[in-house]
């Protein structure tokens, strides 16, 4: 079966700025793929290309097996986009917003009524049926925004940081909805800065840096490729000494605020870690399994040599 989205070696320049540098990605049907990376790495450009808001300069992109460049307006009927900013008509009611967008997609009156009722029900929006959108909370606006992006039953749903502007409770609600969509077989491309979101929702993750994918795979695959099996979180009176000692042992080091994370090549006990760091005035140590966060920092900042090894291992 053809992929919902297949992008191969796509390049994009803005003037002299090379935004996408041989970007490749595949989203299979019914799969949720997370696209993660720092701000400015090119994620939004990828989404704009997929949504036909931007052309690409070279490479190939296929949507549902058809070349994106040849799809024209038809591509817009295949993709649904939900961004972090609620782009809705605030003076209209929820159903009026849904109806308006349904008409733009050319749904017949019968289909429109049925689809609007279906989405109002499945997104639990009936209780706000007579409330203008501008008077809804941010979380409920975002819920409606997501419903609007599904009005035409898109083959691929593109979610651009969909929960970044809502509170925790609303985020949980949106996650449940996205899980429901995933379980019903909707293909989803998701960008997010919440790694917990990616861990919960995505079947595969692509880590992006400087316009290209530097590592890609399921979360267990990415963790398997890490040059470490556990992370020691260390607090010390003398951070520099810990860093030097860990580097001397060949352990990868990451420092954030007053805490140092050490990527351990094998699982060690607390005693073994303290012994290895002897003389560095360690105040506290805890050990935890590696997570997507460790993979993110490792691969996004990794030198090219490491990236090649990782990709090779994933391919195996």
């Amino acid at each position: 079966m053809t992929a919902a989205l297949q992008i191969d070696s796509v390049h994009k320049w803005f003037g002299s700025h090379h935004v996408l540098d041989g970007f490749s990605l595949r989203v299979d049907r019914g799969e949720v793929v997370g696209l993660l990376g720092p701000n400015g790495c090119g994620k939004s450009t990828v989404l704009n290309i997929v949504c036909k808001l931007l052309p690409y300069d070279s490479g190939q992109a296929h949507l549902m097996g058809e070349p994106l460049s040849e799809l024209g307006y038809r591509a817009r009927g295949l993709v649904g986009l939900c961004t972090q900013h609620c782009a809705l008509y605030t003076d209209l009611l929820p159903a009026e917003n849904l109806n308006f967008f349904a008409r733009l997609y050319g749904l017949s009156e019968k289909e429109r009524k049925q689809r609007v009722a279906e989405l109002m029900s499945s997104f639990e929006l009936q209780r706000f049926a007579s409330t203008q959108v501008g008077q809804l909370s941010g979380g409920w606006q975002q819920r409606l925004h997501l419903a609007v992006s599904l009005i035409h039953r898109p083959k691929l749903l593109v979610l651009d940081e969909p929960t970044s502007a809502v509170d925790l409770e609303a985020r949980m609600g949106l996650w449940s909805i996205i899980e429901g969509l995933r379980d019903s077989g909707t293909s989803i491309l998701l960008t997010t800065h919440h790694l917990a979101e990616a861990e919960r929702l995505c079947s595969r993750v692509a880590l992006m840096h400087s316009g290209k994918v530097v590592a890609e795979g399921s979360i267990p695959e990415l963790l398997f490729c890490l040059p470490g099996k556990a992370v020691a979180k260390v607090q010390s009176q003398d951070n520099e000494a810990v860093i030097q000692r860990a580097a001397g042992l060949g352990w990868r080091v990451r420092q954030s605020a007053d805490q140092i994370s050490l990527l351990l090549p094998q699982v060690l006990s607390l005693r073994e870690i303290v012994d290895a760091l002897d003389g560095t005035e360690v105040r506290s140590v805890s050990v935890q399994p590696v997570t997507l966060e460790d993979a993110y920092f490792e691969f996004v900042d990794a030198p090219d040599g490491l990236i090649k090894i990782v990709n090779k291992r994933i391919n195996q």
Binding site: L81, A87, G106, S108
Partner: protein, 259 residues
Amino acid sequence: MHSSHLLWVQTLAVAQRLLLEQWRQKRGLIFWAVFPSAMMLLFGLVYAHNASMRAGLDAAAAGILVGAALFFSCLGGTVAVIAAERERGTLPRLLTTPLHPAAYFLGVVIAQMLLALMQVVMLYSIALLIGAKYQGSLLLGGLILLLSVFSYVGMGFFLGARFARRSEEVVVALSAIGVPLLVLGGTFFPLEIMPQGMQAVAQINPMLHMNQAFKGVAAYGMGFHELRFELSFLVVFCCVSLALGIQSYGHLLGRDKSQ
């Protein structure tokens, strides 16, 4: 769905949405109705008080309609629609749908035409009540109003797409540019009472020719032949406005796409 049918469905969807939004914005709707009504009543009182100026009431009604009411509702309304789409972020959202640019443009034109029609009915009801008369051909008057609405919407797209980023800017820009144009367009005072220099400048103001064309029909009962210069000017101005509006709208879509 056939493409021409889809275009029509989209056009109606845009027009209906704009009218519904206008209806929901109660305060805006009140100002929309109060401004031309108050102007008409005030002018009516002035003319009623001065018997020698009584004949000018018919021209005042025409001038207030074309020069003031339609200017603010159609031109100002179109600029405000585009500024609001930008502020809410709905413009990029629309770009991800199959909405045809022509459907959006036509949708705005239809919505503004219906609003203009309501203003015509409202303003002329008041004008007739206070003693003004409509003297000429309804068909020719309708044609001039139609050309004026198209011109204003075209200019609205041009100004909105090129300059208006926020709703507040729309109000300031309309006051700063619009009111001098209205005065120089003979909306409030006849051209004859202006100094020679001002009259010369006024000749290049398209609103003067719009006013003169509609006043000619509505107040003086002139026909097509007598107004051929004003009508030709209005047709050319309408074409230029629409071309500028469409071009600017295309520019706006391109720019919002790349953001």
